[in-house]
Amino acid sequence: MSDAVAERPTPIVSRSDPRFEVTLYRHVGIEDAWTLDYYLGHSGYAAARRSLTTMTASEVVNEVKASGLRGRGGAGFPTGVKWSFMPKADGRQRFIVCNADESEPGSCKDRYIMEDDPHQLIEGMIIGGYAIGATLGVLYVRGEYYLAYERLERAIEEARANGYLGKNLFGSGFDFDLILHRGAGAYICGEETALMNSYEGLRATPRLKPPFPAQAGVYGLPTTINNVTSLASAVHIMERGAAWFSAMGTDDSKGFHHVQLSGPVAKPGIYEVPMGISYREIIFEVGGGPTMPAKAFIPGGTSCPMFPFTDEYLDTLMEYASVAKKGSMLGTGGLILIPQEKCMVDAMYNIVRFYAHESCGKCTPCREGVATWLPQMYRKLLEGLGTPADLKLMEEMVRNMRGTAFCPLADACAMPVQASFKFFRPEYEYLVEHGHSQYPKSDWWQE
C-alpha cells in the first residue's frame, strides 16, 4: 500500500472536493450509533480484525507511519513514529493510554466520538495496543464528560461480552483489555506525564522527562499515549490504507482535521475537513461566515496565539508548517472567532484566567506568574487602574514565563498574551489611557 504513496493524485485540500468524505464523524449525531450492533453493522472492528490477523505489529506501525498521521492532541507528533519508540519487548507489561482528557478551551472533538461512536475508539486502542505490544489499555476520560464515560463503560462491557476485548482477539492470539478511568477536572492532565500521575492516583503534576513514557510510563512501565482522534484515525488508516489517508492534505500535513468552530459564526460546530484547507474557507464556507464583524480568530484552541482577521491570516492554510510560520499552532483545531465588539483585553483575561485556574503549581513561573500575578494585572487593567508602566511590566513578565517553565502550560498562557500585545496593543493602551475599554461590555446571551 505504501507504494501508492509515491504516485498519489492531487491531494484533497478542500472540503468541497467531491472525493472528500466524512470519516471519523460519520456516526456522530446518530441515535444508538454507540451500540455494538450499530457499529458492527457499519463494518465495525473490521480494521482491527484485519490488522491483528493478517499483519505483524511492525507492519501496523509502518502503515501508520506511512500515512503521515500526526497526533491530534495539539502537539502534532507523528503517531507511527511515537509507536516505534517503544523498547523491545522484555516481558514487562506495556500500556497504551488514550488521552481523552480533552480540556483545551475551544476543543470538543473527542467528546462526540466517545459519546456517539465509542467502539471506534475502542477499535483504535486495540490496533494501537497491537502495534506497540500492549495488552492493556487505559482510557483516561476527563471527569466532566460523564455521558462519554457512561457510553464507553457500556461499550467496553459490550465489547468484552462479545469477544472484542479480552483474550485471543479475532483468533489472533493477541489479548487486549481496557481500563476506563475517569478524571476529575484538571486541564494539566492533558499533559501526558501529568495524566499518568493522575491515573496512578497521584497529584497530576507533570513528570520529569526523560524518562519518556516509552521507557517508564504508567507504573514505570513502557507506555504510549495517544489522543482520541489519533487512535480513531488509525482505525480508518488500517481499513483503507495509508495512501488513502495521505491523499488528503498537504506534504506537511496529511489527512483530515476536526475544526471546532465557536464564537459568533453562523454555523458553529465540528467539521471534519482535509488538512491544507484555508481558514477563509473554514470560516466563510464551512461555518457560514461571522455573524458580527470579527477582529481575530484563534486557530487551534486558546493556547495557540491568535491571528488578526485579515486577508493575510485568513488565507493561511490549515497545516502545521504554514500556521507555525505565521507564529501560531495548529493545536487541537478549536477555532474561536473573536468579534470586533469584544474587548481584547477582556478576552485575554478570560484566557489567562483559565490557565491561572489550571496551573498545577509545581514550578515558579507558572505558579507565581500564570496563576497569580498575570491575572491580577489583567484585573487591574480592566478595573481601569492600569498605567503604561503596567503594560511594560506585563510584557516583561510574560517574557520571563516563556520557555522557563517546567511544562508547556506557562507557554500556552504566555504565547497568546504576547500575540495580543503584538496585534492589539492599541486596545491595551486605550484602556490604560481612558480607564475603560473602547468596547463596552454588552449582553451576549441569545434567546
Binding site: 464523524y25 441515535e31 477536572g185 486541564y187 471546532q260 460546530g269 465540528i270 471534519e272 483559565f354 485556574h357
Partner: protein
C-alpha cells in the same frame, strides 16, 4: 452542618462495589483506585468528608494527607456539601462569547446564591467553572453530570423551573457541525424547538 465522628464506614456495606473498583486495576496499581473511590463517595454523598478521606486512605494503605492532597488537586471533588443540583456554568472564552456571564448573573439572581454557595434548602448550588468542552454548543450549563447545551434564555428559564419541580429534563442532543447527518451540520433553533417538544 454537624458531622458525627461515628459515621459508619461508607464501603462497609458496599464490599462488592469496592472489590469491583479495586479489581479494575492491576495489583501493583492499587493506588489508581483512589479517584474512582472518591467519585463513588461523592456520587452518593455529594461531597467527600474528612472521615471518608480517612476511610479511603485506609483502604488503599495510604496516609490521609496523600488522599487529601490528591482530592484537593482536582476541581470537581467537593470537600463540603453541594446542592442536590450542582450547577456548573462554563465561563471560558467560547461560552463567554455566547453569554455565559449573563447566564451566571441570571442564575445568581434567580436562585439567590453566588458562585460557590449552596441555597438554604440544599437544593441548588452554583459554581463558575472553566471550559467544559462544549465550545461549539455554547453556552453550557452542567447540572450534576448532565450537559445542557446552547442554553438560551428561554431554555434556561424552563430548565430551572423543571429542576425546581425536581424533574430534570432529558438533555437535548446538540451535535454541531457534520453531526446528525444534517447537511447544514447545524441544529438550528427550529430543530431545537422540535426536539424540546418531544422531550
Amino acid at each position: 452542618m454537624v458531622e458525627l465522628e461515628t459515621v459508619a464506614p461508607f464501603f462497609a456495606d458496599r464490599q462488592e462495589l469496592l472489590a469491583e473498583i479495586l479489581g479494575r486495576y492491576p495489583e501493583y496499581g492499587r493506588r489508581s483506585a483512589l479517584m474512582p473511590l472518591l467519585w463513588e463517595v461523592q456520587r452518593a454523598e455529594r461531597f467527600v468528608s474528612e472521615a471518608r478521606v480517612g476511610e479511603i486512605a485506609e483502604i488503599l494503605g495510604l496516609h490521609a494527607t496523600e488522599v487529601r492532597g490528591v482530592m484537593s488537586f482536582y476541581s470537581t471533588y467537593h470537600d463540603h456539601p453541594v446542592g442536590r443540583y450542582h450547577l456548573k456554568i462554563c465561563s471560558t472564552l467560547s461560552c463567554s462569547l455566547a453569554g455565559s456571564d449573563e447566564l451566571y448573573d441570571y442564575l445568581a439572581e434567580e436562585l439567590g446564591i453566588v458562585n460557590g454557595e449552596t441555597d438554604a434548602q440544599g437544593r441548588f448550588s452554583i459554581q463558575k467553572v472553566e471550559c467544559l468542552g462544549s465550545c461549539t454548543t455554547a453556552p453550557v450549563l452542567q447540572v450534576n453530570d448532565t450537559f445542557y447545551e446552547r442554553l438560551g434564555r428561554s431554555r434556561c428559564a424552563s430548565l430551572i423551573e423543571a429542576l425546581r419541580k425536581g424533574a430534570p429534563p432529558e438533555p437535548w442532543r446538540e451535535r454541531g457541525g457534520d453531526a446528525a447527518g444534517s447537511a447544514s451540520g447545524h441544529s438550528g433553533p427550529a430543530q431545537d424547538e422540535q426536539q424540546r417538544g418531544t422531550e
